[in-house]
Point group: C2
Chain length 325, copies 2
Amino acid sequence: MDQETMSSPQPAAPTNILVVGTGAVGGYYGAQLAKAGARVSTTHRSDFATVQAHGIQIDGMQGPYHFQPAQVLQSVADYNGFPDYILVGLKVLEEIATADIIRPAVGPDTTILLLQNGVETEPPVAAAFPNNEILSGLAFVCLSRTAPGHIRHTCYGHLAIGRFPDGPSHAARQLAHLFETAGTPCSVTESIVLDRWKKLVWNAAFNPVSVLGQATTQEILAHPPTAQLVEQLMTEVCQIAAAAGYSLPADCVQKNLAATRKMKPYKTSMLLDYLAGRSMEVEAILGNALRAAQRHHVAAPHLENLYSLLSLLAQRTDATPATTG
Amino acid sequence: MDQETMSSPQPAAPTNILVVGTGAVGGYYGAQLAKAGARVSTTHRSDFATVQAHGIQIDGMQGPYHFQPAQVLQSVADYNGFPDYILVGLKVLEEIATADIIRPAVGPDTTILLLQNGVETEPPVAAAFPNNEILSGLAFVCLSRTAPGHIRHTCYGHLAIGRFPDGPSHAARQLAHLFETAGTPCSVTESIVLDRWKKLVWNAAFNPVSVLGQATTQEILAHPPTAQLVEQLMTEVCQIAAAAGYSLPADCVQKNLAATRKMKPYKTSMLLDYLAGRSMEVEAILGNALRAAQRHHVAAPHLENLYSLLSLLAQRTDATPATTG
């Protein structure tokens, strides 16, 4: 038997992937990669015991799916060996030092995929690992963590990934192939930073206004003063992006507004975070955009106002989860 | 005995005063006028039964004080006769038609005192009663309604009143005399509109930022981006006031900031309203200022931003009291 096994054609070794920050995004996309045959391990803080015992249950759009990670870890340092890919699903928050967290598992051939919100979040990681390939990715998906080890997937799911800062990438194509095998559309781009700015046009406008006004996208657009404010914010993001060398299409703002008008009333991820008492990604979404504006001498008074208010409010939510008092 | 009473010198007839909108402000200042010997009646919505049975209990800075109104009314139309003064303590909200509410008690010699927040709140009342004297007043006081028929007075209490739109007023002096008799400092001004703009400098800055940022005055000033925003908002109010013909002192903004830095951490009245699920006076405080800005072609981008967000948020609090969800 042993001999027979030895002599049969060897299957390609599975791709080893470590998900760091296994929230809804990390858990969902980790599960997709596992579905495609990758050997996917996960790290957890609060959900560790539940996932170790029961794995991750995904209440998906095409029915339930159970994901049993290869290794369920409390700490990145416990990972056995070096993975081919680290998929970073950590939030971008001041108190989270992404590079330090992933460092123990970054081997010489490890590719790092940052699946995070905002702009200009890659440079600190790229600087920490100058000899590793850094991929940056955008997830277009509606996910929520409904209980420890439980993720609900309600809409979309496609990805865009690409080498940071730009250019072609064999690693990105390999990863995209795995995602596509699992049924997750994944485009590979050679200008992921441009794509990030494009996504920020929507995020930097609707996220802050939804939190400060406690409103859905529909309510924001039905109230003429905030509909106008959203347009002004989007225009400022386009101006900053252009100054940073990433010119977005001229109709970008109007297309974003028109698409949002057609959407069902939607609570932004930042509003959901706020209502649940979780930290909001104010710096990744507004702070980094404003720092780019300053660097390129672009005026962004509306973004600045919203940043002022939201960063004040963030102190409050950090201090007192789930209440506003 | 009857004859002896008849022949003794007649005391001056007491001044008849009707308080309309007997919340904390109306109740407290009505009580002061009663203390000074005026015959003060009150109207109530939710507190009617309690006040009819027990009067109004004031937990004052100089000990408790019980105020038994002469007539306790559910409706202005139930008032017996016409009062010398109507003291309006109603909030300035779109759904409250002040002139219509007080009309049944406005006799030919009735003077109307508007003790309300904001700017440009007098014109609709002045237009509705062109033959009555309109007084406008500002209350510098910390009051809260702690239970039906119960008011707590925690700091300050002085008033500034004057004829609207300006000029000397015998009626204002008479009223001020009553307040002073009761121990409430009350200055009479011939330019109450200027005083309103002066007070708005603080109110239009700290009220909206405190609500949107869920913060005390101290927290707002300790966070550099919002400290700067407050200064920009105050500067815009000064520019609008000047364009409307009311030039405030050049050091007005810096004095307001310095005075606030010396205050204890303070929750603005608008923040208290928001946290209690009560309507916020967004139009009186921001909307009217912005309409004046438009009329006088003054740019006020920061006030506009805050108005946009706050008027969106106000829809939410109107709909769902005491929660943010």
